[in-house]
C-alpha cells in the first residue's frame, strides 16, 4: 500500500523482497563485497538476537553458521531468507521529560543529544542503491547538533534499523561508522553494530525504530545483561520508512555508561 498507486501498485513487481535484492546486488557489485561477508554479518546479528531476552523467540538461533545462511531459501536473488527479518506483533513505549524533571524521576537518564532526518526521492531508478544519501544527510545533521566529529571513534553502540542485513551495512556506512564499502569491518572493531540483533531479532514495522532506541538506552544504562557492550557512553539509533530506506532518521543518545 505504500507504493505509488498509479504505476508500481498495478504492475506489482516492486515489494520489499525485490527492492532488498536489487539493493544488495548494487552494493555487492560496487564495493566488491562477497555474499559470504554479508552472511557473516547476518550470523552475528542472529547470534546476538539469541542472547537478547526481548527478541522474538522464533528468531533466536544460537547455533547458526554462514552455510545455514547461504543455503536458506532465496527470496529475491541474491537475498536469502536468513538475511531478512521476521515480521511479528509488538508494541514499544518510552517516556520523555525535560532535564529538571528527568533528574528528579531517575538517577540514570539517557539524553537525546542530536537528531536528524531526511527523505530521498521515491524512484529507485533515480538513486544509487549502494549508498544512502538520505542517511548521510540525516547523520550529518544529528552529529552537528550532538557535537560528534568522528563517529568511528566516538560512537560506542549503533542500533540500525535496516530492512535486510545488507541494508544494515549500507546505513551504517552512510552514518559514518566505517568507510564506504567496508561495512564488514565492523565485526572486527569500531562501534558495535546491532548488539541486540537489530531487525533480525524481530521486525514490527512501526515499532522497530522505537525498539532500536530502547535497546540503545538499555546499553547506555548498563541494563542490557547478556548483550551489554561494556563502557557504552554514546549510541546512535535509527529508523526508516519507504523502499530501500527512502526516509531515515537518526538519534544520538548519551548516557552515564558503566
Amino acid at each position: 500500500m505504500e507504493l505509488d498507486p498509479t504505476f508500481d501498485r498495478t504492475i506489482s513487481l516492486l515489494n520489499s523482497y525485490t527492492a532488498g535484492g536489487m539493493q544488495m546486488r548494487a552494493y555487492m557489485k560496487k564495493f566488491n563485497v562477497s555474499i559470504e561477508d554479508i552472511a557473516k554479518i547476518a550470523v552475528n546479528s542472529i547470534k546476538n538476537a539469541a542472547k537478547n531476552p526481548s527478541a522474538l523467540p522464533e528468531a533466536q538461533q544460537s547455533n547458526i553458521s554462514v552455510e545455514d545462511v547461504l543455503e536458506s531459501e532465496i527470496l529475491s536473488s541474491p537475498l536469502r531468507k536468513l538475511m531478512y527479518p521476521m515480521l511479528c506483533d509488538g508494541t514499544a513505549a518510552i517516556i520523555l521529560a525535560p532535564e529538571k524533571q528527568s533528574l528528579k524521576i531517575t538517577d540514570n537518564p539517557v539524553w537525546i543529544t542530536g537528531v536528524g532526518s531526511c527523505q530521498d526521492t521515491y524512484y529507485l531508478g533515480e538513486r544509487d542503491l549502494s549508498i544512502s544519501t538520505s542517511m548521510e544527510i540525516a547523520a550529518k545533521k544529528a552529529y552537528k547538533i550532538a557535537g560528534i566529529n568522528d563517529p568511528k571513534k566516538e560512537v560506542d553502540v549503533a542500533e540500525i534499523f535496516g530492512h535486510t542485513v545488507c541494508e544494515d551495512l549500507i546505513l551504517a556506512e552512510a552514518a559514518g561508522l566505517c568507510e564506504q564499502g567496508n561495512g564488514t569491518s565492523l565485526l572486527d572493531g569500531g562501534p558495535a553494530l546491532n548488539p541486540s540483533g537489530g531487525t533480525m531479532s524481530g521486525l514490527t514495522p512501526c515499532a522497530c525504530g522505537l525498539t532500536r532506541i530502547i535497546e540503545a538506552v538499555k546499553q547506555l544504562q548498563g541494563e542490557a545483561q547478556d548483550i551489554q557492550i561494556s563502557g557504552a557512553k554514546k549510541a546512535i539509533a535509527t529508523g526508516q520508512v519507504g523502499f530501500c530506506a527512502q526516509n531515515n532518521i537518526l538519534y544520538v543518545l548519551e548516557g552515564g555508561g558503566n
Binding site: 498507486p5 498509479t6 498495478t10
Partner: protein
C-alpha cells in the same frame, strides 16, 4: 427503495467549474484479508445476563461510573472496570434522530433511532423504539422500558426494542416537552 439509497435531491444550484478528465486506474483494498482480535470477556457475561432477563452494567471502582453495555477500560481512570451491577429495566431517551426512506405513497417515512441511557448507567446505547410510535412525540428525557424478545438466546437483540411508558412529569412540563 432501500434505506441508504441516494434519494434524488433538488440541491440549490452552485457555481461549478468543469475540469478536463485525466487518466484513471482501478485499485483495490482487500479489507476482508484482515483478521482483527476482539476481547469478548465482558460481552459474554453481558449476553448471558440478557438471556436470563438480567440487565447488567459494569462499574469502574475508581470513578464509580457504570457502563452499559460493558466497557473493557475506563477512559477517565485507565482502570479496567470489574464490578458488575444489576440495572433496572427502565431507561430514558438521551438523544434521537431518524433516517428516511420512501413509503409506498412516495412520502418520506422516518425510521427513528434512539440513544438510550439505562437508568443507573452513564453511557448511551443506540437502539430502536416500538414500531408505530410517531417520531414527533419522541423527546429527550422520555421514559422507556425494555421489551424483551420472545425467545432469548444470548444475542444482542434479546432486548428487542424499547417502548415509551407514561411520564409522571408530563402534566407539569407540558410546555417544556418539545423536541
Amino acid at each position: 427503495m432501500e434505506v441508504g439509497d441516494k434519494i434524488k435531491m433538488p440541491l440549490p444550484e452552485y457555481i461549478k467549474k468543469e475540469y478536463k478528465k485525466t487518466r484513471t486506474l482501478r485499485g483495490m483494498w482487500y479489507l476482508t484479508n484482515y483478521k482483527y482480535k476482539f476481547n469478548m470477556s465482558r460481552i459474554k457475561t453481558y449476553l448471558k445476563g440478557l438471556k436470563q432477563g438480567h440487565v447488567l452494567g459494569i462499574k469502574c471502582r475508581s470513578c464509580n461510573r457504570v457502563f452499559f453495555p460493558p466497557k473493557t477500560i475506563c477512559g477517565k481512570c485507565l482502570v479496567k472496570p470489574d464490578q458488575w451491577v444489576m440495572l433496572p429495566e427502565t431507561a430514558t431517551v438521551a438523544t434521537a434522530s431518524a433516517g428516511y426512506a420512501e413509503d409506498d405513497k412516495n412520502r418520506e417515512r422516518p425510521i427513528p433511532v434512539i440513544g438510550v441511557r439505562q437508568d443507573g448507567s452513564d453511557t448511551v446505547l443506540m437502539h430502536n423504539i416500538s414500531e408505530g410510535v410517531d417520531f414527533d412525540t419522541v423527546y429527550i428525557g422520555m421514559p422507556l422500558k425494555i421489551v424483551w424478545a420472545e425467545e432469548r438466546n444470548g444475542g444482542w437483540f434479546d432486548i428487542d426494542h424499547y417502548e415509551p411508558i407514561e411520564d409522571p412529569a408530563n402534566e407539569l412540563n407540558k410546555e417544556e416537552n418539545k423536541k
